[in-house]
């Protein structure tokens, strides 16, 4: 049984923003975090705003300069989008390795971005795409880079009267390599122990774009900026890759939990960053 709560079911975005502005509830998207948290006593809210009827938040558009995903789009809808594997290979891989059939059909990208979990699987791939999120309140919208959106464990820059309405990014450079690896206890329906995404582009035999994002190894998913700086303008040799992976690992602050020890997370971060960087370097053209 869920604890008793009140629920409003707006049909349009302005209606939802009005209820949100009045302080009358927290957004409810797929409920795959919210309902287990309510049942487990972690979620104390007793008023919710159901976003499931707001179709204007449920879309994927591929434009020449911008790919946009509405916040209410489900993980399964991203997986089924025929252009996503080409447009954002690491994101496609992340949604393909996400939960099981039923949860993928309910869980939304907005919920994944807003729950603030360090293991949220769409975040590393979106960070290496340099994605931005649109935050909307009754009085208007602002856009915020995803890199900088997370402040601390389950803390984001989003204000309580704002809805995350979409996430968008510019298409990756032709010839770039965009990879994601989810290390978990099982291949299916398991929480990420160590997650790594990289984006590498090459120009004239040198690395022109280097982005690395790590999940489940710190209070938030984060970009390993110091490691990225070491790679830019360089030819990626095994030695350089090793040192960059070390720099990325040094930026992590993993904990022991029931899925893994902190030490295992550190070792696998180092190994996976090495592996993905060399794969991406070979793949990029």
């Amino acid at each position: 049984m869920l604890p008793a709560f009140e629920l409003s079911q707006p049909k349009t975005l302005p209606e939802a923003l009005k209820v949100l502005a009045a302080g009358r509830g927290l957004p409810l998207a797929g409920g795959t975090v919210l309902f287990p948290d309510l049942r487990g006593g972690k979620e104390k809210g007793r008023e919710f705003i159901d976003l499931s009827g707001i179709d204007e938040l449920r879309y994927i558009t591929h434009e020449a300069k911008r790919i946009t995903v509405g916040a209410r789009t489900t993980i399964a809808e991203i997986l089924r989008d025929p252009a996503m594997a080409g447009a954002a290979p690491a994101l496609h891989k992340a949604v393909d390795n996400f939960a099981g059939t039923m949860v993928r059909n309910a869980a939304t990208v907005g919920g994944n971005l807003c729950c603030g979990s360090p293991s949220a699987d769409t975040v590393p791939a979106l960070l290496t795409l340099d994605a931005e999120v649109e935050l909307t309140r009754a009085s208007g919208s602002r856009t915020v880079p995803l890199d900088g959106y997370y402040l601390d464990y389950k803390k984001t820059v989003k204000k309580p009267d704002e809805l995350l309405t979409s996430v968008f990014w510019a298409p990756a450079e032709p010839g770039s390599a965009h990879l994601f690896f989810k290390l978990a206890r099982r291949k299916g329906d398991a929480v990420t122990v160590t997650g790594v995404s990289v984006m590498i582009a090459k120009t004239d035999g040198k690395c022109s774009t280097a982005r690395i994002a790590l999940s489940s190894v710190a209070p938030t998913v984060f970009r390993a900026h110091s490691a990225e700086e070491m790679l830019k303008g360089q030819k990626l040799t095994p030695d350089l890759i090793e040192r960059a992976a070390q720099a990325a690992t040094d930026q992590s602050s993993p904990i022991d939990d029931n899925r893994s020890s902190a030490n295992y997370r550190r070792l696998t971060t180092q190994a996976l960053v090495c592996r993905l960087l060399s794969q991406a370097w070979h793949q990029a053209s």
Binding site: M1, L7, Q9, F35, G40, T101, M102, N105, A106
Partner: protein, 162 residues
């Protein structure tokens, strides 16, 4: 106390009216009016015992509110097939011994139904992945995977002769 509402939906083709407060899950509401073939396991999305099709899409009914089913079509295992007119998946579960205590079976077949609708010729890995949101404490899964594979083959045969 939260207010109650009458929710009108279709279950296995029949129109059903449910009276439910906002926090009533679809799982509780369905079982309350007699659809006890929808099983309650973990109530947090881990086990898949409560899976139903909501407009042809498999969802965990423990993570769906009754209010969210307004105007929609719900299919339980009894809507997939009956003893008199079983689905190929149900026949295959009997054939291979894919059900022991049977508690996980309704959810397994709902998830497998969605898998076969999308991918009529799944590999073993596709089947494992398609059923990764469903737990079974009895069979060790092998016979469940065999059942889904057998059902896929049977359906292909029927497709070829039709």
């Amino acid at each position: 106390m939260s207010s109650e509402k009458i929710v009108t939906l279709r279950v296995n083709g029949d129109e059903v009216k449910l009276i439910a407060p906002a926090h009533r899950t679809l799982l509780e509401a369905l079982r309350h009016v007699g659809y006890v073939e929808v099983k309650c396991g973990c109530e947090k999305g881990d086990c898949g015992a409560c899976a139903v099709l909501l407009d042809d899409m498999a969802v965990d009914s423990c993570l769906t509110l009754a209010w969210q089913a307004e105007g929609r079509e719900v299919t339980t295992i009894k809507g997939i097939g009956t003893p008199a007119d079983p689905d190929p998946l149900q026949e295959a579960f009997i054939e291979t011994g894919g059900a022991q205590c049977g508690y996980c079976t309704p959810g397994m077949i709902i998830a497998a139904r969605e898998l076969l609708n999308e991918n009529p010729n799944p590999t073993l890995d596709d089947i494992k992945k398609g059923l990764s949101g469903n737990l079974c404490r009895c069979t060790g899964y092998t016979r469940i995977f065999e059942a889904v594979s057998l059902a896929a083959q049977e359906m292909q045969k029927v497709g070829e002769t039709a």
